[in-house]
Symmetry: C2
C-alpha cells in the first residue's frame, strides 16, 4: 500500500458545475477557464456539446471554446452524449478520449438517458463506428452510478465487473483495446472500503487497466474515498473547483457536488503527493466560482485558509 508520487486532477467544474447553474455570461466563463488554465491544471473539461434546448447553460459551447486562451500544455476537453455532440466536439478542437459510457444502474440510465443499460450497450457499436470514422481510437470506458444509485441502492460489484467485461470484449471484437475505466460515483454512494474492494477486484482481473475515479461529495465521504483510492495507487481523479456540481436527485437543492479540486489538491500535497498545482491560484478560482454562481460553494480550503505556514512547507517536507 504505497501512495502514488503524483496525481493528475481533471477539472470538470466549467462543464459539470455550470450545467446545473443559471445561464452564465460567456465572457465571464472564458475568463474563468483562462484563470483555471493558469493554476497548473493539465486537463480542463470546458463545456458540453448537448442540445441547447435541454441544456441552455451549454448553448455557447462553440463560442466558449473559440474564446479561451489556450495555455500550452493544457488539454481542453468537452462532454458529448450522442454522435451529433461528437461531431460538434470534433469541429471545435477539443481532446477526445474515445470513451464508451454506460450506467451501472439501469434505473438511473432510464432516468438520465431515457435508455436502459441494455439499450445503451447496444448503441456502443454505433459509437465505435463513429469514433473509427473520426480516426479516434477507442481507449476508455466509463460507468455512471458505479457504486450506488438513489433508485436501486448499492450496485453489486459483480454486476459492475460483468458490464466492464462486456465492454472490453465488445471493443476487442472491433479491434480496440480499452486502456482505462472511469468509474463515476454519480450520486455520492461510495465508501472507502467499497472503493478499495472495487479497485482491488478490477486490478486483479485486469492488471493493465488504468482506473480513473469521478467522485461526488454528496454525503461527505468524497475525500475519504480519494484517500482510499490513493492507498490503492490510483492517481487520476475528476474534481471541480470549489466543489461545483451537484446531484439532481439529492435530498436538498444545493447539496454538495463533485469533490473540490482545491481540497483534493491540498490532501495530496500535504501527504507529499505532487499535483503540479498552485493551491493559492486554485483558491482564487474557487472564490471566482462563488462569485459567478452567486452562492457559497462547499469546498473547504478557501474558507479554512491556506496559512502562510502551510505554503512554504507541507507536512511531508517537515517530516522529511
Amino acid at each position: 500500500m504505497t501512495l502514488p508520487e503524483r496525481v493528475q486532477l481533471y477539472e470538470v467544474g466549467p462543464r459539470e458545475g455550470f450545467q446545473s447553474e443559471p445561464v452564465l455570461d460567456t465572457n465571464e466563463k472564458i475568463e474563468f477557464v483562462d484563470a483555471l488554465s493558469r493554476t497548473g491544471l493539465r486537463h480542463i473539461e470546458v463545456t458540453s456539446f448537448v442540445s441547447p434546448k435541454w441544456v441552455p447553460q451549454m448553448a455557447d459551447a462553440e463560442a466558449l471554446l473559440a474564446g479561451i486562451h489556450r495555455e500550452p500544455g493544457v488539454i481542453y476537453r468537452a462532454a458529448y452524449l450522442n454522435v451529433q455532440g461528437l461531431e460538434r466536439a470534433l469541429n471545435n478542437n477539443v481532446t477526445l478520449d474515445g470513451s464508451l459510457v454506460l450506467s451501472a444502474s439501469d434505473t438511473f440510465s432510464k432516468r438520465n438517458m431515457n435508455k436502459s443499460t441494455v439499450e445503451m450497450f447496444s448503441n456502443l457499436s454505433e459509437w465505435i463506428a463513429a469514433y473509427k470514422a473520426a480516426n479516434i481510437r477507442v481507449k476508455q470506458m466509463g460507468f455512471m452510478a458505479s457504486f450506488g444509485c438513489n433508485f436501486e441502492g448499492y450496485i453489486p460489484l459483480p454486476h459492475l465487473i460483468r458490464l466492464m467485461g462486456d465492454v472490453i470484449d465488445l471493443a476487442a471484437d472491433a479491434g480496440e483495446t480499452i486502456q482505462k475505466v472511469k468509474l463515476a460515483d454519480t450520486m455520492g454512494w461510495a465508501n472507502p472500503e467499497q472503493i478499495k474492494r472495487t479497485v482491488q477486484t478490477i486490478q486483479d482481473k485486469w492488471p493493465q487497466l488504468d482506473i480513473h475515479l469521478h467522485l461526488h461529495d454528496t454525503r461527505g465521504l468524497g475525500l475519504a474515498n480519494v484517500y482510499a483510492a490513493l492507498q490503492e495507487g490510483l492517481w487520476e481523479f475528476d474534481t471541480a473547483i470549489g466543489g461545483l456540481g451537484g446531484c439532481p436527485f439529492a435530498a436538498v437543492k444545493g447539496a454538495p457536488g463533485n469533490i473540490a479540486t482545491e481540497d483534493v489538491a491540498f490532501l495530496c500535497e500535504q501527504m507529499g503527493i505532487d499535483t503540479g498545482l498552485n493551491l493559492a491560484a486554485l483558491i482564487d478560482c474557487a472564490n471566482k466560482a462563488e462569485q459567478l454562481v452567486g452562492r457559497a460553494l462547499p469546498g473547504h480550503l478557501a474558507k479554512g485558509g491556506l496559512q502562510e505556514h502551510i505554503r512554504p512547507k507541507t507536512w511531508k517536507q517537515v517530516q522529511g
Copy 2:
C-alpha cells in the same frame, strides 16, 4: 490494519458549536440536547463552565443541565478551563474525565489561554490536587493544536511525544495513571498520513494508552482523517452534529467546524462499523441545529439525503 467493530462518538455540538454562535434561548437548547439524547449518542458535552463575562453563550450552564431530561445510558459532560469551572461542574451532575490539558502550540496556548505551554504545564499539579480533593482520578490528558497551528505551522511529532511523556510522568509522580490521550486538531491541520504516523508512534511507545481524536474539517480533510484513524484501530472521536463549531482563526467567518456527527456515523455504518446511532434521528438534529443557528451548516448527509435504499442495507450488509 483492521477497522474497529464499533466506534463511540462524543457529541460536542451543544458546547463547542453553540459557544461560537449568538446567545441561544435556554429552552431551545434543552429541547435540542433532549433530541440528541434520543439518537443513540452515549456521550454529550452539553455546556461549558466558563465566565459568562467572556462567554455569554454558556452563561446558562446550570439552568441547561437542570432542565434537560437525562436519558438512561447517556453520559452528560461539560467543559471547564479552571478550578472554579471544575467546582461548578462538580455541583451540576456531569461526568468528569479527570483530564489534564495543554496546547502543543505555545503561540496558540498564549492566544487562547493567555499562558504559555510551560506555564500551563506548571499549573497541572494544581489540577491534580483539585481532582484529588474532588475524589476524581486523573486518567486522561488532552492536547490542543496537536497536529498544526495557524501561527506556528506543523507541530513536530517529537514535540508532541515529549509533552505527552512529561504529562504521563507528572501524573505518575502523583500516583495517577494516564489511560487516554485526546488529540485535538483544533485548527484543522492534520492529514491522513500524519494521523497514521502519529498514532503508530504513540502506540509503539505507550501500547496501553487509548487515543481519542478531536478533529476539525477546516480544510476538508476531516473524514479522510477519521478513515486513517479507523485503519489504525481508533474508535473514539469527538464530533458535532451538523458540523457545528468553527475556528476563530480560519480565513473566513463561518469556515467549516468540527467533523459532523452524522457524516462520521454514516462513514462508519456504511463500512460495517457499529455506531449505535440512528442516522435518521441524527439528520433531524442536524436540521434542528441549522434552524437554531439560522444558517446552513457544513454537514453533508442531511443535504445529500439518507435514501431509503441506504437505510435498510448498508454497503457492508450487501457485500456480506
